[in-house]
């Protein structure tokens, strides 16, 4: 019993090591703002090997190299655009999770706006049409109204003719 308790305790002591993600490299930063900048950069860059992960989450060696390059360029005082640009030059536009707006990607960026705009047009069309039909075509003409009230009053003579 004692032995198994000790074994269990030892096992639990290993948990922090198991949880430590080996994708996390140790980088030193001068300030918290710098660290946040690094984190936001690496979360916007896509791993070319494991294509649905950003390089912050990926364990692939290539992602590690890319993180190191981002860190090295940051330490050299490069701007975010320069850093992302340097990686795009090597790996292609693919590594951007936020593609630049240019002639090839304009449709990608514009599609949500186009769809929303189209939806608004459809809704507006439906509203306008229903308003117009309310105004121009009253449900019953005066003659029909008079006939309807006669029928409701119990005069059946009109029914057959309708």
């Amino acid at each position: 019993m004692l032995r198994s308790t000790i074994a269990l305790a030892l096992l639990f002591m290993l948990v922090p090591f198991a949880l430590a993600d080996d994708a996390r490299d140790v980088y030193g930063f001068e300030s918290q703002a710098q660290e946040q900048r690094f984190q936001s950069l690496i979360s916007e860059l896509r791993c070319p090997k494991c294509q649905n992960q950003n390089i912050a989450d990926s364990n692939a060696p290539i992602s590690k190299d890319m993180r190191e390059e981002v860190y090295r360029m940051m330490s050299d005082g490069a701007s975010n655009e320069e850093i992302v640009g340097a990686l795009v030059d090597r790996f292609g536009e693919f590594v951007r999770y936020k593609p630049e707006v240019d002639s090839r990607t304009i449709l990608l960026w514009a599609t949500p706006a186009i769809v929303v705009f189209g939806g608004l047009l459809v809704v507006a069309g439906i509203i306008i049409r229903s308003r117009r039909s309310d105004q121009s075509e009253p449900a019953l003409t005066d003659e029909e109204r008079a006939r309807a009230s006669r029928i409701l009053d119990g005069d059946d003579s009109d029914r057959s003719s309708g």
Partner: protein, 178 residues
């Protein structure tokens, strides 16, 4: 007018079908290199066979070459190795090897055992040239023209089919110009 509107869903479905069908069979893992049409990045690395000899991108000048990125840690590189030897020996293709993130001794043993298809072997233990080339998975094979411009990249194993269909036409096209 209303009738025509009834066909809108059909048209949308057909368009979507065509778009999706065009994607079938394409390998989403294969990316076009960002370096197509650009020169091989500058580098100074040592010769795999001779620690004292420095190589630069001038090794690509003068004739069309294949640049093959490999490592002894890469199982697929072993798969394609015999085909590379075949290309070098039977087809007379000039292949430059880039030994990527590897150990010099292991690499030399490998070439000794399996044959050496490389006219020049660049040793890149830290993967610096590989990184500049945008290598994301060995093996990768590049077609480099006689001016040292990257013309094509194939990610994955090179075999007879890939050679015939993808690489040979390019090697011939860029070879004619010189």
């Amino acid at each position: 007018m209303k009738r025509i509107l009834l066909f809108v869903p059909l048209v949308l479905a057909v368009v979507l079908g065509v778009v999706l069908f065009a994607g079938i069979g394409k390998d989403p893992n294969e990316l076009e290199s960002a370096l197509i049409g650009k020169p091989v990045p500058e580098f100074v690395l040592t010769d795999l066979h001779d620690e004292g000899r420095e190589l630069t991108r001038d090794v690509f000048k003068g004739q069309v070459s294949l640049l093959n990125v490999w490592g002894t840690w890469c199982p697929a590189c072993r798969d394609e190795h015999a085909d590379l030897v075949w290309l070098a020996e039977e087809k007379g293709v000039r292949i430059v090897g880039l030994n990527y993130k590897d150990n010099r001794d292991d690499a030399l043993v490998w070439l000794d055992r399996l044959g050496d298809p490389y006219q020049v072997s660049i040793y890149d233990p830290r993967g610096s040239l590989g990184f500049d080339l945008g290598v994301y998975g060995a093996p990768e094979t590049y077609v480099i023209d006689a001016e040292g411009i990257v013309r094509y990249r194939h990610v994955g194993v090179v075999n007879e089919k890939v050679w015939e269909q993808e690489i040979k036409p390019l090697v011939e096209r860029y070879g004619e110009k010189t």
